[in-house]
Symmetry: C2
C-alpha cells in the first residue's frame, strides 16, 4: 500500500491554549496492519476537553501523549484491510485511533459500530465516550432520585446536554448552566431542561437561589472554577457533586483555582466524587444499549456539531475551549 | 434556690481568633428547672473546634449562638434537682449544657453517663462527640479495608488520635500529621501510629511520598488548607477523603483557601465527603458501646488534656486553635 497518511503529531507541550507551533502536521506512509491488526480509514474524529489533559506531562489516569506521537483521539471509520478474522473489511469501528486519516489498530482494541442503528458521529458522542460518561457519572455517582434538583454546567456541551436529558428521564428537575443566549435557549427548547442560567449574563449566585430554592441535590460539574464554587454554596443536605471535568482550568497558566466553598460539603454532609469513564469500560455496553433505546424511542436527542477537514483540527479543538460548540464536536475527514 | 451561676455569654461575633471583648462573663441566678427539666451542676466543659463555627452568623448545620446567649458547649455534670421522673438527683449526665456552672435542661435532652465505667471527661471525648465523630467518620465515610494506607491530620487531637487508633484496629497502616516534636513522638509512642509527619518541621510533600509510596487510600482531614492540598496530591485510586474539619481556616479573616489539587479526585476516581456527627445521633449508642469495649480491653487509649477554672475558658479555647492540646481538651469547673 503506497497511500499517504496525514496526521497531527504533538510537537510541544502547550502552555495555556494550544498554539499552532504545538502541532506538527505530518505526511507519512500508510502503515501495513500486522498480525491481528486492522487498517481503518478514519471518517470522524472526536474533539474532547480531555485531550488538553493528555497533552500535559505528569501523572494522570492515562499516560500523556509523547512528543512526536500522533495526537490521541477517539475516532471512527471503516475497516479497509484486516488481519483479524473477527473484523471484516467494510465494517465500521471506533476507538483510540488518533488524529489522522488512516490508523492501524489491534482488532481487539476497536469496537464495532452499526451505522444502520445510528450515524457514525453518534458513536463518538451519545453512544461513545461522552454518552457513557454522562450515563455513569449521573446514575452511578450522582444517584438521582425522583424530584431531585440537578444542576449541570457545560449544559450545551456533549456530556452536559446528555446528563440533563437523562436526569429528566429519571424524574428530576434540571437546571443547566451555559454561556450565551443561543446555547441557553437551546438547552431549554431543544433538550427540555426546566431552566437555564447564562453564566455570562446573569449573577450566578442569585440565579441559583431563584432556580434552586431547596438547594442542589446533584451538581454535575464539567467546568470547575467559579461556577463550581457558586454551586457548592447552594448544596442541599446529602448533595452529590460529580466532578467530571474542569474545562475552565485546563488551559490555565496560573495555579488551579480550588473550590473555596468546599466546606459546604461538611455542613451539608455532601460528597464530591471524581469520575473518569475509563473506570467503566467493562460496563460500556450497558450504557450504550440503554441509550440507543432512548434514542430510538425519541426520549433522548443526540446532537453533533460537525466541522470538516483534518487540516482544521487545531482550530476546531480551540472552539471547545472557547465554548463555541453546541453538542458533540466532531471533525469529518 | 439562691445560688449564683457564672457563665460565658457571646458578646460579639469574632473576627479571626476570639478576643476577650467577644465574651461577657456574667453572673446570673441559678434557674429553677421547670416541668420535665433537670438542673445540672456542670463539672466538665468540652472545648471543640466546632465552637468557632457556632460563633459565626450564617447558614450551617446548626443555628449560630445568639449574641447575649450563653456559649454553646458539650458539658457534663451531676443532676442536683430533677422534675423528670426518669432522671434522678445524683446521676451524671452530658449534653449541650453550655459554658456555665449550672444548666437547666430538658430531661430528654441530656444523656446519662456511667462514671463507674469511665471518668466523666471521657464522656466528652472518646465516648462523646469526638469519639463518635472519629468512629463514624472513619468507618462509615472512609470505609477502611485491611492494608489500606490511612493518613490523619490533627493526629494528636481528640478526633485524629482516635481515628488513627481505630484504623489500626481495622488493620490499616496509619500515618499521622501533627505539629511539633512532642506531639509527633507521642502519636507514634502512645497511640501506636506507624509513622508521623511533623508539618512544622518537614516538607509535607516529600514526607507523604516517603510514607505513602502507594498513595493514600483514606485521608481524614481535620485541618484543611495546605495540608489538605498536599494530601490530595497523593491520593491512590478510589481514595476516600473525609472532611471532618478545617481548623486552619476557622479563624481566617481572608477567603477560605480551597483545595487547588481537587482535580486529583477526578484522575483517581476518588471522593471527598463532608461529615458532621449530628447526622449519626440515632446511632450514637452503637459507637459508644463498641468504643467502651475497646477502652475496657485496652485496645484504645483515651487521652484528656484537662484545664481548670471556668474563668479560664477564653484562654483555654485559644489553646485549641494554637494547637497546644494533646488529646481531648476539657475544662474542669
Amino acid at each position: 500500500m503506497d497511500a499517504v497518511n496525514h496526521q497531527f503529531q504533538l510537537a510541544a507541550r502547550p502552555v495555556g491554549l494550544p498554539k499552532p507551533s504545538d502541532w506538527h502536521y505530518a505526511e507519512v506512509p500508510v502503515a501495513e496492519p500486522g498480525e491481528g491488526e486492522v487498517l481503518v480509514k478514519v471518517q470522524y474524529i472526536s474533539l474532547d476537553p480531555a485531550m488538553r489533559g493528555w497533552m500535559n506531562d505528569g501523572r494522570s489516569y492515562i499516560a500523556p501523549v509523547g512528543i512526536g506521537d500522533v495526537m490521541r483521539s477517539f475516532s471512527a471509520g471503516e475497516v479497509i484491510a484486516s488481519n483479524d478474522p473477527d473484523v471484516a473489511v467494510g465494517e465500521h469501528v471506533g476507538g483510540l485511533l488518533g488524529v489522522q486519516e488512516y490508523a492501524v489498530a489491534h482488532g481487539k482494541g476497536v469496537f464495532k459500530v452499526d451505522t444502520k442503528l445510528a450515524p457514525l458521529p453518534v458513536y463518538l458522542g451519545t453512544l461513545g465516550m461522552p454518552g457513557v460518561t454522562a450515563y455513569f457519572g449521573l446514575l452511578d455517582i450522582g444517584k438521582p432520585e425522583q424530584g431531585n434538583t440537578v444542576v449541570v454546567s457545560g449544559a450545551a456541551g456533549a456530556v452536559g446536554g446528555l446528563v440533563g436529558q437523562i436526569a429528566k428521564l429519571k424524574g428530576c428537575r434540571v437546571v443547566g448552566i451555559a454561556g450565551g443566549p443561543q446555547k441557553c435557549s437551546d438547552v431549554v427548547a431543544q433538550l427540555g431542561f426546566d431552566a437555564v442560567i447564562d453564566y455570562k449574563g446573569e449573577d450566578l449566585d442569585a440565579a441559583l437561589t431563584e432556580h434552586c430554592p431547596d438547594g442542589i441535590d446533584i451538581y454535575f460539574d464539567n467546568v470547575g472554577g467559579e461556577i463550581l464554587d457558586a454551586a457548592l454554596a447552594h448544596l442541599a443536605r446529602h448533595a452529590r457533586v460529580v466532578i467530571c471535568g474542569a474545562i475552565s482550568q485546563y488551559n490555565s497558566t496560573t495555579a488551579i483555582k480550588g473550590p473555596a466553598n468546599y466546606l459546604s460539603l461538611l455542613v451539608n454532609h455532601a460528597s464530591m466524587t471524581g469520575f473518569v469513564m475509563s473506570d467503566y469500560l467493562d460496563r460500556y455496553g450497558e450504557a450504550v444499549t440503554e441509550m440507543a433505546g432512548w434514542l430510538a424511542s425519541g426520549q433522548l436527542i443526540s446532537r453533533e456539531d460537525i466541522a470538516e477537514g483534518l487540516e482544521n483540527f487545531p482550530d476546531t479543538l480551540l472552539r471547545l475551549f472557547k465554548g463555541e460548540n453546541i453538542g458533540k464536536l466532531v471533525l469529518k475527514i
